[in-house]
């Protein structure tokens, strides 16, 4: 049972990263263009979908709470200030979708809050992952790092890295969904962003080696982990080829693969810990009565339905955004 819920949790987080990743990325990119028509098309490419995407974050949160209450309580109270900042960012960017088309004089406020909110949310998410990888100070099952225990050069670096990654996802999404100008501009951004991301990965790797992070020993114990970087490299090559040939569909899926590979690497390096090297899955799992009740209802029946709803909304809004019908 606990394993089932760990898998659901992992899938939810991965979905969140892949889906909200692209709309956060589009939000970050949004800040770099002044052209109103382009902005409308960028928004139209994510507007019907962002709410569902963000819901995966809540899914991850509540699965964590219901199935692994100890981890939920420990992590969320440890990340008090980062989560606050992330929530403020998500709130400000979320309302921007509804508010920006209600006004003209004050549209800049919502454009700013959309771009800045997206950036801040992405940055903080990366920062928290970085802090987890580096290891949070925990004693007696309680966080013991104080208000800023998550702050380090490494976690900040990871914040930047995730912003780069989300932006790359966003760019590839725009290539898929948009045409003409927006698509062409997006194509031009893929190479520099990919190289930036690659540099980031190299620096992270070097840092982890240099600081002798405990998580690195996992790589020596589990050589099969190397399959993930291999997948990442193949995906990167296909990405480069499809950008060169201006094929609109593959880039997004290739970046998805790169993200999935990175996520898989992290997940398996953590295993069997949920908070590295202090709390294992087994320690954290809720009592059987909770896991079973969740399994027989939401796990077995509602979870597949959720995937169906998501599929329906992606099917309804498939294809390129038609600039003429853009109502943002």
């Amino acid at each position: 049972m606990a394993i089932f819920w760990v898998c659901v949790l992992a899938v939810s987080i991965l979905f969140y990263v892949l889906l909200d990743g692209f709309d956060l990325g589009v939000g970050i990119l949004f800040g770099f263009t002044r052209n109103e028509q382009r902005r409308r098309e960028m928004l139209a490419a994510v507007a019907p979908l962002w709410d569902g995407n963000e819901t995966w974050l809540i899914v991850a949160g509540v699965v964590l709470w219901g199935a692994f209450p100890v981890v939920y309580a420990t992590l969320f109270s440890a990340f008090y200030l980062p989560l606050l900042v992330m929530l403020a960012g998500l709130i400000l960017r979320g309302v921007a979708f509804e508010f920006r088309n209600k006004t003209e004089h004050m549209r800049w406020i919502w454009d700013l809050s959309f771009a800045a909110g997206s950036f801040v949310a992405a940055f903080v998410q990366g920062l928290m992952v970085g802090a987890l990888v580096e290891g949070l100070p925990i004693s007696d099952g309680q966080y013991a790092g104080g208000e800023f225990g998550w702050l380090s050069p490494f976690s900040l670096l990871c914040g930047v890295g995730l912003c780069l990654g989300y932006t790359l996802l966003g760019v590839c999404w725009l290539v898929r969904k948009c045409a003409d100008e927006v698509r062409d501009a997006a194509y031009r951004l893929i190479p520099p962003l990919s190289i930036g991301l690659l540099l980031f990965l190299i620096v992270v790797f070097a840092y982890a080696l240099g600081e002798n992070l405990r998580i690195m020993s996992r790589w020596l114990e589990r050589p099969y982990l190397l399959v993930f970087p291999a997948i990442g490299i193949v995906a990167a090559i296909v990405l480069a080829a499809s950008v060169r040939r201006r094929r609109d569909e593959p880039p997004y899926y290739m970046v998805v693969l790169i993200f999935a590979a990175a996520f898989g690497t992290l997940a398996i390096s953590f295993w069997p810990y949920m908070i590295p090297f202090t709390i294992t899955i087994e320690d954290a799992a809720a009592p059987h009565s909770s896991l079973a009740f969740m399994f027989w209802g939401e796990g077995l029946f509602v979870f597949p339905l959720m995937l169906v709803y998501t599929a329906i909304s992606y099917a309804v809004f498939r294809g390129k955004v038609r600039p003429a019908s853009v109502n943002y």
Partner: protein
């Protein structure tokens, strides 16, 4: 534990949840009403229904957006500020709230996108289906929240193992009698909120003599719904009072303003409770009625607040006044809905401008009633988070500093104040602009009984009062 951090966390929770509840309670009712409108439109083909639908959909989307973003905070706040509560009750509360996310949020989010952007992309029946799914989603969300909160009010079906609250019997939790009076109470409150907002908008348009056809639909449907639902709501309110009497006697005593045991008990209509002397000043009370309301008898003994050790007492002032404000709002709404519906059926409502004004100005009443109702329930539950078993003071994150809590409270207050101001401003703007198609306005001399189908010919020119900017 830091006492200031505890107080700040409580303030923050009260503030964020009060802010949040305003929007779902509005959108639950509105989603149901949109479904009815869309079904009526498909069934009759009358353009006015479509106009009204499109119009309220815009307002719905702003309110829904505010509800969504303020709701995300709730999913995190239990962990950030209430570490111990989250840890101990996670096996129950976490599970219930995960059901909410799984069953409700995806329905809402996916189909809401279709509602806003998909009309041209899906067949009409699927569009109606999507509307109904959004309505179902909002209702399910309310259901799970009420399951969870009812468990906190009257914990059942659990056992304590290693300090954790473990579910011993889920069916007891899901079929708790407390839940099945409180959930309808909340749902009805939402429907009434929607009804009064719609009726108030209709009354406003009639007063300013615009959008006549749409205004008539809004006013009639809103008032009729109110006239039927408010009495049912008062009945469920009474049942809710019964559960408080049986399960939470200290809260009941606080609501009733009863400091000492009484037999037979009188009912305090209004007073100023004085916690220091443990008596009421300026009390107006009716003998025996207290026993009648509490136990349906003429001579029952009713419990006073001083029966409980002072560490287990809720504060009296807030539940006492909040409850009276809630009931007052309810009675006012009943009066308006009945008188309004009566005059509407008689065809005399449009001439009655004072009544139209009263209906127009009544839109805050349901919101006030919902907020004060929740203040009564939640403040009355103190000093416990899980009634009788886990104290609020023991629930807070032990290492939370007053500084961090101050920062978060300030951030939430300013962000919420910011988006609330703009949200209300934009909703007002949408309401003022009115339905987009602008069906023919009723001629000045129109008789109120004029068949509405006559005014349903759409015109191309927009009415002059649709203003462009702000």
């Amino acid at each position: 534990m830091d006492a200031t951090a505890l107080l700040l966390s409580r303030l923050q929770f009260a503030f964020t949840i009060s802010f949040h509840i305003v929007f779902p309670s509005f959108t639950i009712g509105l989603a149901a009403w949109l479904t009815i409108l869309e079904a009526l439109y498909l069934a009759t083909g009358r353009p006015a229904y479509r106009e009204v639908f499109e119009f309220w959909l815009k307002i719905f989307s702003v309110a829904f957006g505010l509800g969504v973003v303020s709701g995300i905070v709730m999913a995190f706040q239990f962990g950030t500020n209430w570490d111990v509560l989250a840890r101990r009750t996670g096996p129950i509360q976490g599970v219930l709230l995960s059901y909410e996310t799984f069953t409700a949020f995806f329905l809402e989010a996916s189909f809401f996108g279709i509602l806003l952007f998909g009309r041209s992309r899906v067949p009409p029946w699927f569009y109606l289906f999507s509307t109904a799914m959004v309505a179902l989603g909002t209702t399910l969300s309310a259901f799970w929240i009420m399951v969870n909160n009812s468990w906190m009010q009257a914990p059942v079906g659990y056992a304590i193992e290693n300090g954790e609250y473990v579910a011993a019997d889920w069916s007891k939790i899901l079929f708790s009698p407390v839940l099945w009076v409180r959930f309808p109470h909340m749902l009805l409150a939402s429907y009434i909120t929607g009804a009064f907002c719609v009726a108030a908008t209709g009354a406003w348009y009639l007063l300013s003599e615009k959008f006549h056809a749409e205004a008539r639909i809004m006013l009639s449907m809103g008032l009729l719904l109110g006239a039927v639902l408010v009495p049912v709501q008062l009945f469920f309110g009474h049942l809710t009072g019964d559960y408080v009497h049986d399960y939470q006697p200290a809260k009941f005593a606080a609501i009733e303003g009863r400091w000492h045991d009484q037999q037979p008990a009188s009912e305090v209509l209004i007073a100023i409770p004085d916690p220091r002397s443990e008596t009421n000043d300026y009390a107006i009370q009716i003998p025996v009625l207290g026993s009648l309301i509490g136990s349906m008898s003429f001579d029952s003994k009713e419990v006073g607040l001083t029966d409980f050790p002072s560490a287990d007492r809720p504060p009296m002032i807030i539940p006492f006044f909040a409850f009276r404000i809630m009931v007052g709002c309810g009675l006012l709404m009943l009066l308006l809905a009945w008188v309004g519906s009566y005059l509407n059926v008689k065809g005399r409502i449009e001439q009655n401008r004072p009544l139209l004004w009263a209906i127009f100005l009544s839109f805050p009443l349901p919101f006030i009633a919902i907020l004060t109702g929740w203040f009564t329930a939640e403040v009355g539950r103190q000093p416990w988070t899980v009634y009788g078993v886990l104290r609020t003071a023991d629930s807070v994150t032990p290492f939370l500093t007053a500084r961090a809590a101050t920062i978060s409270l300030i951030v939430f207050c300013s962000v919420y104040a910011f988006i609330f101001t703009f949200g209300v401003f934009y909703i007002h703007k949408l309401l003022r602009a009115g339905p987009a198609g602008a069906l023919v306005r009723a001629p000045v001399a129109a008789s109120p009984n004029r068949p509405m189908s006559v005014v349903d010919e759409p015109v191309t020119a927009r009415s002059a009062h649709v203003e462009a900017g702000e």
